[in-house]
Symmetry: C2
Subunit: 438 residues, 2 copies
């Protein structure tokens, strides 16, 4: 058994058919045809008003590690996945193409070309699965997170869903939620890898471990100080609050409620804390919240939210539904030709595209304009949406690591500000901006 089941090479995190297509294209000599692959979503899930692009920075790092080392080549040979000639080609594989796309944190709409890969067919086709895995997962989480941030109307939110997601997906989910405006995560690896602030207090097990709730509270306050958050719903909430204030004093940082009928409970907890003189003690709630439950608590004296399950599962839309399609290729004479499939209900729009966000006279976003270009037309008016992500196989450093996450979070906040107010309605409806092909 290898020490790590997650390998440094990302080359096998892909579908077998990417390699067999390469194999067949090499035999027909078409693998070197220059191609344009485009990532887009046909629709937004669940009648949402906008989507949030996330995963880009993570993806660029994974593409840089998309290399076929001896171990990968041996496995492919032993399993006769491709011919020997193709294995030789894979041994030298390194993505040398160009990737442009929406900035991480940017909003997207149906048809938005969120990522565009320019490369010979063989180089570009291999990336399909990895590109979609990362963008579909991370964008699904970010899209749900953004709605929760709106619903919270300025109150802080913490991500705490690691236990409801695959252990590595959990790290990516914490990252996506932070980009969309969450303030912290419970996940330590997300703190280490992406520089996201981490938080956490105690579980019911900690109270149950001790001979009494009071013993448990004393142990926690002794270690973490009176500014800690005490979990008060293991037995009886109101008795627990009495104990909590007795143990920590009126300087107690916060109490956490993880069960019960929250609107009613929160009001009575606030009244009790105030009566005990703990007027600055905050109330944090964490009981199976989603954007609708958060919105329903807007009038309650809640100070912060912890969100788990619904966040890491995309609140009903666990994948963003983006696809990776060939939209243009060179023919034998070296001329670009747009291509598109005609499949029932899944037709695509061929050609290279330049997207811009259009604005009305008072500076509110009014349209997602997608210009289908032939050559070097003048840049259309509006805010250009494509930025350079990778050139000649080298990622632009600004998008990587913790600094990329911070940049994406800042950009997301700006892009949201541009939207019309109707975009923040939680109910089902049309996308906040119409997509216009020009």
């Amino acid at each position: 058994m290898t020490p790590s089941r997650e390998r440094a090479s990302t080359a096998l995190l892909t579908d077998r058919y990417e390699l067999t297509m390469l194999d067949a294209a090499m035999l027909s000599g078409t693998h070197e045809r220059d191609c344009v692959f485009e990532v887009f979503a046909r629709s937004l899930p669940g009648g949402r008003r906008y989507g949030v692009v996330a995963g880009t920075g993570r993806l660029l790092e994974l593409i840089e590690r998309f290399r076929f080392e001896d171990e990968e080549l041996t496995w492919l040979r032993d399993n006769r996945v491709v011919r020997d000639e193709t294995l030789d080609w894979l041994a030298d594989y390194r993505f040398n193409g160009t990737i442009r796309g929406y900035r991480e944190g940017e909003l997207y709409f149906p048809g938005s070309p969120v990522l565009v890969v320019d490369a010979p067919f063989g180089e570009g086709v291999l990336l399909e699965t990895l590109v979609l895995s990362v963008l579909n997962h991370d964008s699904a989480i970010a899209g749900a997170a953004a709605r929760m941030v709106s619903a919270a109307a300025g109150r802080p939110l913490a991500e705490m869903g690691s236990r409801r997601a695959h252990e590595q997906a959990a790290v990516a989910a914490a990252r996506a939620a932070y980009i969309a405006g969450f303030g912290a995560t419970s996940n330590l690896e997300a703190g280490r890898t992406w520089g996201i602030p981490t938080m956490g207090t105690a579980a019911h097990a900690f109270t149950l471990l001790h001979d009494s709730e009071e013993d448990a509270f004393r142990a926690q306050v002794r270690t973490l100080g009176p500014q800690t958050t005490l979990l008060v719903d293991t037995y009886d909430v109101h008795k627990a609050i009495e104990t909590a204030v007795r143990v920590a004093g009126t300087e107690l940082g916060a109490v956490r409620l993880d069960s019960g009928d929250l609107p009613v409970l929160v009001a009575s907890v606030r009244a009790q804390l105030d009566a005990l003189g703990a007027t600055k003690t905050r109330i944090t709630v964490t009981n199976d919240l989603d954007e609708f439950a958060i919105a329903a608590l807007r009038a309650s004296p809640v100070d912060s939210y912890g969100v788990g399950t619904s966040l890491v599962t995309g609140s009903g839309a666990p994948t963003a539904g983006m696809v990776y399609k060939l939209v243009a290729r060179k023919d034998e004479t070296g001329s670009w030709i747009p291509v598109a499939k005609a499949s029932t209900g899944k037709a695509s729009i061929g050609g290279r595209k330049v997207p811009v966000r259009g604005f009305d006279r008072v500076g509110v976003a009014s349209a997602e304009e997608i210009h289908i270009v032939q050559g070097r037309e003048a840049l259309p008016k509006g805010r250009p949406l494509h930025v350079s992500l990778m050139t000649g196989g080298v990622a632009d450093d600004r998008h990587l690591g913790a600094q990329g996450v911070e940049a994406a979070r800042r950009h997301h906040a700006i892009a949201r500000e541009e939207l019309p107010e109707s975009a923040f309605r939680l109910g089902r409806g049309e996308p906040a901006l119409p997509t216009e092909y020009v």
Copy 2:
């Protein structure tokens, strides 16, 4: 940037509060109290009739890698997560406890104690998040997969949802689907790491790359042989089939349909293939299938199914909702005492449990019996559900790697055979077996 973002150590794939609870327990001296932690689900999602335990083998390997190396300790110190004394304890940490639980592939019901961790509090509490991440994700996928396998009524199924899931979750999803009866996956890493058969043919991009559909089919057949599967819905299905049989001959292995109104389309495709003499050419369909769409195709001449999105997202239930609860601990005198929280709607049942599956006179499973035991009572009648998974921190080899996956797949098939027929209804309803506490 480190070469691999996924680290060999799994110790930070956890929630911050697991470490702060340890920190506080060390100060109160309670971290060495012997404890029993239990994993169970309060309910089955979406009115399903049974759940499928998956992830166990993967989890045991991750627990063996749960070690705090210099890099982890430095990060925890720099971020002041716990006190220095606790860091010293973590440096020596190695899980030395005992884990028993349901065999991987086993079925479970509300309250089934699917995993039981016996360890001092400090050792056991640290594993909560990792245990739940793995079991909640993998069991969600296996639960959905098992329903699809029933719906397919003997026809083979292939997993091809990698692009709709986080890139590492995709590998685990392929593994879980295989345990629940899928026959193959498109994911190459799942093939390499877990020994699962891989499959795949071609995407629309491959057809669009070529100057004509015929060129594309010729290239594929030349490389993969006439037994390959040709994708026939890029432009016009019936023209494509004509071309496919002309190019590959009547020995053509299969055609794949990825769009359209399948029940109608499949029948006309079968008629066309037969008329062309390709009577042995199979039809595989892959268009947004879930268990209900698969069941609806039961009367159509489909030969195999490829399932993506709905499988890797748990078909409406992307997480299994299992929790990790302290159910018993020793007190100061060394006596075991059952513990349970009383939180509204989330109460738990304390005490150590021995689960067995009860049967009726004709050998059909009739109940999930959970015996709450005090000491060494006689083993109750029925099929015992707990097996040894880890002893003194060492995993039982039979559950690990590819052999563990094969064993889980075999066991799952046997456990399914025991259920009453009503368990395989797809509609919402009660669990197939009642959970009885004895």
